[in-house]
Symmetry: C2
Subunit: 192 residues, 2 copies
């Protein structure tokens, strides 16, 4: 199952390029140059350009879906579950920066059935996240708030990390995590 190092390098450089310029703006010729190969040689390792995008998008989707499953199975209240998920987002976004960028912004260039599958996975994730928030509202842990609004505000609010973090100006992941949790959970929770 060990992938050839060349193949691995191709995926790595592809991720980097897609992040820098976007999927469409990236050419196979650039990718070849970065990997010290000829364009045609790339096709000894991969089937198509879209395969690169596909792998990155679905690898990330899997990470998040596993995360929400863990959250659901947690013996904890809604606030702790939400907190766990926010932390997860932060950790993923700050560890595999390039992949997350593509996952966030370039998935829409997936074609046909891949796109459909991707969107249904995302929908699934959102539904399950919503459910947790709903529990928090019902139990009185959270303020009275429209669940959809809360869901998207939270999810979206984390989407600057993968763009900004690379040039992190003297702030650790840990303290970053604490700052964000502070702000978001403080907003969500009822003032007792």
């Amino acid at each position: 199952m060990a992938k050839s190092p060349t193949k691995e390098r191709i995926f790595e450089e592809a991720a980097r390029l897609f992040q820098e310029k976007g999927y469409l703006a990236t050419t196979m010729r650039e990718l070849a140059e970065r990997t010290d190969l000829q364009v045609s040689s790339l096709y000894s390792h991969i089937g198509s350009k879209e395969e690169l995008l596909h792998k990155i998008c679905f690898d990330n989707a899997r990470k998040f879906l596993e995360g929400i499953k863990t959250a659901e199975e947690l013996q904890a209240n809604a606030a702790e579950k939400v907190q766990f998920l926010i932390s997860l987002h932060i950790r993923i976004a700050t560890s595999d920066i390039t992949s997350v960028t593509i996952f966030n912004d370039e998935w829409r260039h997936l074609s046909g059935p891949y796109l459909t599958e991707f969107l249904s996975m995302r929908k699934d994730y959102e539904k399950r996240f919503s459910k947790i928030i709903q529990q928090g509202v019902d139990s009185g842990e959270f303020i009275q708030i429209n669940v959809t609004v809360a869901l998207f505000t939270i999810l979206t609010s984390l989407r600057w990390l993968h763009r900004w973090f690379p040039e992190k100006k003297g702030i650790s992941v840990k303290s970053l995590e604490m700052e964000i949790l502070n702000l978001l959970m403080n907003g969500l929770k009822r003032k007792s």
Copy 2:
């Protein structure tokens, strides 16, 4: 100064297409079809494809910069200023949906000096917004929080609106605005 209706239609349809498929994925031939023109006829009204992108990006940038100027001149405390700016974002994002989408996501396909100018305008906006947040922290209105983290979390958290609002499921702009303000300002403010 009144623009020809054809030219206006071209810009409108371009905005719609850029939103649907992205700038790069949109072709002039598609734009021609949408505007009931031949490709070559487009060039009687516009200079280039990038001109379309350029106009939309800078029109929006101007809107936001005007907004922050108004906020700065407000006779109000930091919380009220931040609240004003959040409301502004929501109102812009829900009124001119297509333009905001492009402004948010497609600016990076601006080329050369345009890109530089755009980025410096954005930087300016972020600096001035930061200053207001800093005032709120210093005065004790807001919780002790890293200003950069707060800035980007807030700004980014509003970036789902322009994608989601079109299919608004029975929620008015006004109540949407209230829900979001509730969540974000509750997060920012100190519990007295």
